[in-house]
C-alpha cells in the first residue's frame, strides 16, 4: 500500500559505529513515539521538523539502546512524508531490534527502493532518476524472488503451508456452510473450530519464537562477561574474540562503561559486554557503574562469570554468584599453573556449566565451545526446522498471528461466524502473501474441492 508507514535499516548492514532506522509515512511520528522516549520526555509528534532529540529506544518495555531521533516533517524530508530517523549504535543486533520494535508498532517493512520511490512520487527526485529507480526495484525484486523461491522448498514453506492449509480448510468449511445453507454441509463445531484456531495460533507463535532461536545463529546472543577486577576477564575476552579472528564491532566503552564486541564462535554469534565489575562500591560514581552492570546482568541473554582459581571466593565473587543465580550462565575458571584455592562446590551450587581455561596454555577453548553449544541450545537446534528468514517474513507471520487472535477473540466472545471468518481470512491472506498466493481463490477452490455442493 502506498500510504502506509514504512521502515527499514537505512545504514549498511553489519559493521559501522552508527546504525540508522528510517521511518517514513503519515504515522511515522506516532509510531516513533511508541518506541522512543526522549530525555526531555517531549513527544516527537509535538516536535518541529529538522530537530534532533536524545533519548532511548525500547522494545517490549526494555531499553535497547540510547538513541538520537531526528524529525523531518512532510513535505520537508527525503521522501516528502513525515520521517523519523533513529540513530543508535551500529551492528546488526541493535539495529534489527530497533527495527522490530518499530514494525511491531504499526510500520511495515519498506520494499526494495521504496524510500526512493516515495521520494520520487512526492516530487523529491528529478525525472532522470525515475528510470534508475525502476531498474533498482526490478533488480531487487528479482533477487527477492530468487530468495523467495528457495523458501519454497524449505522447511519454512512446509511449515507455513501446513498452518495455512489447515486454516484454509476451516475457512472453506465456513464458506461452504454459509454459501450452501441447504446442502448437507457438516455443522461448524465451535470447539473443533476453536481448537483448530488455537493450534494454528500456537504453531505461528512457535514459528515466531523459533525466529528468535534462529536469531541466535543469525544475529547473536546478548552476552555479558562479569567478574571482579583482575580476575582475567580481558584475558578471556581476548581468548574468545581472538578465536577465528572474528571481531566485528568495537564501540568505545566511554559512553556506557561497558565494552561491546561481537565474536562468532563456530555458528554462534556472541555480543559481548565487559562490565565494569560488580563489587561494593565506595563512591557514588563507581556505584553508577556497578548499578549499570547489575542492570546489564538482568537483561543479558547469557552471562559468562569469570573466577580466579588461585584465590578463594571473596565477597565480590559471592555477590556475583548471587546475582547470576537462575540466569543462563557459564562459569569460567581462569586457571593458571598455580594451585587451585577456589571452592568449586560453591560455584556448582549456582551453575553446572563450568569450564576451566588457561590463557597461558590456551587450553579450555574446546570445552568452552561445547558448553556454549549446550547452553545456547544450538547443540540440538535442528537447522532443518522452520525458521523465518527475515524481518519481512516475521512481520507477515506476526500480522497473521494478530489476525488469528482477532478470529479467536471473535469466536470466544460469541460473535457470529461471519465476523470470525473475516479475521480468519485476513490471517490466511498474510500467510498467502508469504507463499505468494491469493486468498479468495484459495478458499473458493477449496470449497469445491472438499464439499459436494450445487444444485
Amino acid at each position: 500500500m502506498t500510504n502506509s508507514t514504512i521502515a527499514a535499516i537505512s545504514t549498511a548492514q553489519g559493521m559501522g559505529g552508527i546504525g540508522v532506522i528510517r521511518i517514513s509515512g503519515e504515522n511515522a511520528l506516532t509510531i516513533a513515539d511508541k518506541v522512543f522516549v526522549a530525555v526531555s520526555s517531549k513527544k516527537l509528534s509535538d516536535a518541529k521538523g529538522y530537530t534532533a532529540h536524545f533519548g532511548a529506544v525500547y522494545y517490549e518495555n526494555e531499553k535497547i539502546d540510547e538513541c538520537i531521533a531526528t524529525v523531518f516533517k512532510a513535505p520537508f524530508s527525503y521522501t516528502g512524508e513525515n520521517v523519523v530517523e533513529l540513530s543508535c549504535h551500529g551492528g546488526t543486533y541493535i539495529t534489527k531490534t530497533v527495527l522490530r520494535a518499530v514494525l511491531d508498532n504499526g510500520a511495515i517493512p519498506a520494499g526494495a527502493g521504496e524510500f526512493t520511490k516515495r521520494a520520487f512520487l512526492n516530487g523529491k527526485l528529478d525525472l532522470t532518476e525515475a528510470e534508475a529507480v525502476m531498474d533498482i526495484i526490478s533488480a531487487k525484486s528479482s533477487a527477492a524472488a530468487k530468495s523467495a523461491l528457495s523458501v519454497h522448498e524449505g522447511a519454512l514453506s512446509k511449515s507455513i503451508n501446513e498452518v495455512k492449509d489447515d486454516l484454509v480448510n476451516r475457512a472453506a468449511h465456513l464458506c461452504a456452510w454459509a454459501d450452501y445453507p441447504e446442502e448437507d454441509i457438516p455443522e461448524i463445531e465451535f470447539s473443533a473450530l476453536k481448537d483448530a484456531l488455537d493450534i494454528a495460533k500456537s504453531r505461528l507463535s512457535a514459528l515466531l519464537e523459533n525466529y528468535d532461536k534462529g536469531k541466535a545463529i543469525r544475529e547473536g546472543i546478548d552476552t555479558v562477561i562479569v567478574g571482579r577486577p583482575n580476575v582475567g576477564k580481558s584475558t578471556l575476552m581476548n581468548l574468545i574474540t581472538g578465536y577465528d579472528k572474528s571481531i566485528v564491532t568495537d564501540i568505545a566503552g566511554t559512553t556506557r562503561d561497558i565494552v561491546e564486541e561481537t565474536a562468532v564462535i563456530k555458528d554462534i554469534t556472541l555480543h559481548l559486554s565487559d562490565t565494569a565489575g560488580i563489587r561494593d562500591a565506595d563512591n557514588a560514581i563507581e556505584k553508577i557503574g556497578v548499578d549499570k552492570a547489575k542492570h546489564r546482568l538482568s537483561t543479558a541473554e547469557l552471562i559468562i562469570a569469570v573466577f580466579d582459581s588461585s584465590s578463594p571466593l571473596n565477597d565480590d565473587d559471592i555477590s556475583i554468584l548471587n546475582e547470576i543465580k537462575g540466569s543462563t550462565c557459564i562459569a569460567v575458571i581462569n586457571k593458571d599453573d598455580l594451585k587451585t584455592k577456589l571452592d568449586i562446590e560453591k560455584i556448582k551450587e549456582v551453575t553446572e556449566n563450568i569450564v576451566f581455561m588457561s590463557a597461558k596454555t590456551k587450553t579450555g577453548i574446546k570445552e568452552f565451545e561445547d558448553i556454549l553449544d549446550k547452553v545456547v541450545g544450538t547443540a540440538d537446534f535442528d537447522s532443518s526446522s522452520a525458521v523465518l528468514s527475515n524481518e519481512r517474513q516475521r512481520s507477515l507471520a506476526k500480522s497473521a498471528y494478530v489476525a488469528l487472535l482477532d478470529a479467536i477473540s471473535a469466536l470466544s466472545l460469541g460473535m457470529t461466524y461471519d465476523a470470525v471468518t473475516v479475521s480468519l481470512e485476513d490471517a490466511i491472506s498474510f500467510l498467502c502473501e508469504l507463499t505468494g498466493e491469493r486468498v479468495t481463490e484459495t478458499v473458493v477452490d477449496n470449497v469445491f474441492h472438499s464439499f459436494c455442493v450445487g444444485k
Binding site: 520494499g111 512520487l121 525502476m134 527477492a144
Partner: protein, 635 residues
C-alpha cells in the same frame, strides 16, 4: 434477399432474458430510444432452470439491483410463492433472501413491464449479424433481413448463442426449453474479431406433481412473515407453497455409475466447461464417490402448473436412465417426467476483454452482459445487464461511465472478478468472493447504493424521500441508544444472566448492552422503556452498526486503502511491453487485461507489488511530463 431499413435506436439489446431486461429498462428509463430483441416473444424473462430468485450472495445482488432502481426484486416480489431468509443465525453478512417464484407469471409481468416502458420497443427477431458503421454506430440485421441502426449494442444472448442440448446420446442445436437457438450471430462476432468459447450448464427434469408421493417427504416452509426483496414492496402477504426434501441412495448411485459411459460429458461429446458449483448428479457421484446420499429439493414451478422442479438433480444422461434413477428416490418412485433433464452448451466470450462498464475495450459502443460474459445465474445476469444498460445510455448521452468498485457492492465485485480474473468456468456469485462482506450486506444495499441510483435518475422522488426518512430514523435511534442509560435492576440482571452474560452493578448504557453478542433488541425490550415504535429494519441497522462496529471499522480502513489505488487511473492504450522495469509475466498479463487503474492491476495474478511500484513511478513520470493530463492528476 435484400435487406430493408427498419429503424434507428440509441441502444439495441440482443436478448430479453434477465440481463437484457435490466439493460433495456435502464437505458430506456434514462431517456434512450431503446430496442430489445427476443428470439421468441414467449421466452421473455424465462427461468429455464430453478423457479427461484435470490439465494446466498444472489440475494445480495437482487437487493443491490433494486437499490439502484432495477426491476428484478420488484418482479420477484410480485410473483413470489415462498420467501426464505437463508443463513439466519450465521451473521448478518451472510443472510440471503430467496424467493420461490411463479415462473410463468414472472415472465408475463416482466414482458408487460417492457411493453409499458416509455422509449422501449420489444421486438421478436433473431439478430444474425452486427456490423460497425463508419460513423461509429452499429447495424443489426435480423433473420428477416430487417436492418436496425443503433449507437450502442448490448449482447445478452444467454445460452441461446450457438446453443446445443445434450441428453445422453441425443444432441441437437437448441436454446433452452426447446426454443430455437441463435445460430448466426456467433460467426458474426467471430468475424468482427471477438473470439468465443464454449461453456456448459444443465438443468434437472420437471416432474408431474400428482405422481410424486409428497406425503412421505420432509417439508420446507417459508418464513413468517415473508420479507420482500424490494424497498418498494410494502408487504407480501402469506407464502403460497411449501417445498419438499428428499435424498438419493445407493440404488441411484448404482444406476448412474452403470450408465456413466452414456453421459455426453464423460463420453467426451461436450467440449464446454461446466461450473463446479452447479454439478450434475453424475458429477457429484463421480467426484464424491464416498458420499452416501445427495439431497434434492422439490419446488413448484407455479400456481397454475403441476410441473415440479427437482433442485440438485440435473443430468445429461439418456432419458431412460434419468427415469430409472429418479424412480429410486423416495417420493419419486412413480414420478412422471414432463420434461427431461438436459445439458446445454453455448458460446460466450472472455470477459477480460471488457472494461468495468462491460463495454468491449476494442469495440466502442459494444457491450455484453450475463452468460454471454461467462457468468451463470439469473441474478448475476441481471446485475450486469443493469450496469451495461446504464453505461450504454451514458455513452449515448456523453456522460461519465458508471462503475461500481469492489467495496461498494457485490455487483462491483462480480464485474471486477470477471474483467480482472476472467472466468474459467461459468462464474457464480458467492459471499466468499467478497473480501468486504461485513459491510456489503443485503440489509444495507439501499444505504450503499440508493444515493447512486437517485443520482443516476433511476430512483423516484417518492422513494428517495422514503429512503431519507429511513436514514433519519436510523440516526435518531442510534443517538438514543448511545445516550440512554438502563438502570441496574433485578429484571435487567435476570435477562443478562439468562443470556449467559455478566450482570451489572450500576446503570449501563443501552449501547454497551447491545454490543454484547448474547443480547439483542428483542430480549432487552422490557428494560428499554423509552424505546420508540419503529420498523424492524431500523432496529436491525442500529443493532448491526453497534454489534459489528469494530469489524466494520476494520473493513472500512481496508476499503480506504484499496480506494487509494483505485483512483490512480491507467491509460487503457498503454503498451506494457515498453515498460522495461516490469517483469515479462506482468507485461503480458497487463497487456491482456489492460486494467483501468492501479488497484485493478494489483489484483491481476502474476502482477507483483514490485510491478505495481514500477507502474506508480511510470504514472508519476507521465504526469510530470504532461501536467495537463487529467487522468493522472491524482497521482
Amino acid at each position: 434477399m435484400s435487406t430493408y431499413f427498419a429503424g434507428n435506436y440509441d441502444v439495441a439489446v440482443i436478448g430479453a432474458g434477465h440481463a437484457g431486461i435490466e439493460a433495456a429498462l435502464a437505458a430506456a428509463r434514462l431517456g434512450c430510444k431503446t430496442a430489445i430483441f427476443t428470439i421468441n416473444m414467449d421466452a421473455v424473462g424465462n427461468c429455464p432452470c430453478n423457479p427461484s430468485i435470490g439465494g446466498t450472495a444472489k440475494g445480495h445482488l437482487v437487493r443491490e439491483i433494486d437499490a439502484l432502481g432495477g426491476e428484478m426484486g420488484k418482479t420477484a416480489d410480485e410473483c413470489f410463492l415462498q420467501m426464505r431468509m437463508l443463513n439466519l443465525g450465521k451473521g448478518p453478512a451472510v443472510h440471503s433472501l430467496r424467493a420461490q417464484i411463479d415462473r410463468r407469471k414472472y415472465q408475463d409481468v416482466m414482458k408487460h413491464k417492457l411493453e409499458l416502458c416509455d422509449n422501449l420497443d420489444l421486438r421478436q427477431a433473431e439478430i444474425t449479424d452486427i456490423e460497425k458503421n463508419d460513423d461509429g454506430s452499429w447495424t443489426l440485421t435480423t433473420r428477416m433481413f430487417a436492418q436496425f441502426m443503433a449507437k450502442t449494442v448490448i449482447v445478452a444472448t444467454g445460452t441461446y448463442l450457438g446453443g446445443k442440448i445434450f441428453i445422453g446420446e441425443v444432441s441437437f442445436e437448441s436454446g433452452p426449453d426447446g426454443v430455437f437457438p441463435a445460430t448466426f450471430l456467433g460467426d458474426s462476432l467471430r468475424n468482427l474479431g471477438i473470439p468465443t468459447r464454449r461453456f456448459k450448464t444443465g438443468t434437472p427434469a420437471r416432474v408431474k406433481r400428482s405422481t410424486i408421493d409428497l406425503d412421505k417427504l420432509e417439508i420446507q416452509e417459508g418464513d413468517t412473515p415473508p420479507v420482500p426483496f424490494s424497498y418498494d414492496t410494502e408487504s407480501l402477504g402469506d407464502n403460497k407453497v411449501v417445498c419438499h426434501i428428499s435424498y438419493t441412495n445407493e440404488d441411484t448411485k448404482k444406476i448412474i455409475l452403470d450408465n456413466i459411459h452414456r453421459s455426453p460429458l464423460y463420453g467426451g461429446k461436450i467440449e464446454g466447461v461446466g461450473p463446479r458449483y452447479c454439478p450434475s448428479l453424475e458429477d457429484k457421484i463421480v467426484r464424491f464417490e464416498h458420499k452416501e446420499r445427495h439431497q434434492l429439493f422439490i419446488e413448484p414451478c407455479g400456481l397454475d402448473t403441476e410441473e415440479m422442479y427437482l433442485q440438485g438433480m440435473s443430468s445429461s444422461l439418456p432419458e431412460e436412465v434419468q427415469l430409472q434413477f429418479y424412480h429410486t428416490i423416495p417420493g419419486l418412485e412413480n414420478a412422471l417426467i414432463m420434461r427431461p433433464a438436459y445439458a446445454i452448451e453455448y458460446d460466450c466470450i472472455d470477459p477480460t476483454s471488457m472494461n468495468a462498464t462491460l463495454e468491449f475495450r476494442d469495440f466502442e459502443g459494444l457491450y455484453g452482459a450475463g452468460q454471454f460474459n461467462g457468468s451463470s445465474g439469473y441474478e448475476e445476469a441481471a446485475a450486469q445487464g443493469l450496469i451495461a444498460g446504464i453505461n450504454a445510455a451514458h455513452k449515448v448521452q456523453g456522460k461519465e461511465p458508471f462503475v461500481l468498485d469492489r467495496a461498494s457492492s457485490y455487483i462491483g465485485t462480480l464485474i471486477d472478478d470477471l474483467i480482472t480474473k476472467g472466468a474459467n468456468e461459468p462464474y457464480r456469485m458467492m459471499t466468499s468472493r467478497s473480501e468486504y462482506r461485513l459491510i456489503l450486506r443485503q440489509d444495507n444495499a439501499d444505504i450503499r447504493l440508493t444515493p447512486l441510483g437517485y443520482k443516476l435518475g433511476l430512483i423516484s422522488e417518492e422513494r428517495w424521500s422514503r429512503f431519507n426518512e429511513k436514514q433519519r430514523l436510523i440516526e435518531e435511534e442510534l443517538y438514543r441508544v448511545k445516550n440512554t442509560t438502563i438502570p441496574a435492576s433485578e429484571k435487567l440482571n435476570e435477562i443478562l444472566v439468562s443470556r449467559e452474560t455478566s450482570a451489572v452493578d450500576g446503570g449501563i448504557r443501552l449501547f454497551e448492552l447491545l454490543k454484547r453478542p448474547q443480547l439483542n433488541y428483542k430480549v432487552l425490550k422490557e428494560v428499554d422503556t423509552t424505546r420508540p415504535t419503529l420498523p424492524d429494519a431500523i432496529f436491525e441497522q442500529v443493532e448491526i452498526a453497534i454489534k459489528y462496529d469494530g469489524y466494520i471499522k476494520k473493513q472500512l480502513a481496508q476499503v480506504e486503502q484499496m480506494r487509494k489505488l483505485e483512483v490512480k487511473k491507467l491509460p487503457l492504450d498503454t503498451d506494457y511491453k515498453t515498460l522495461s522495469g516490469l517483469r515479462l509475466e506482468a507485461q503480458e498479463k497487463l497487456n491482456k487485461i489492460r486494467p483501468s487503474n492501479i488497484g485493478q492491476a494489483s489484483r491481476i495474478s502474476g502482477v507483483s507489488p514490485a510491478d505495481i511500484s514500477v507502474l506508480l513511478i511510470w504514472l508519476a513520470k507521465k504526469s510530470h511530463e504532461k501536467p495537463q493530463t487529467e487522468e493522472n492528476t491524482d497521482v
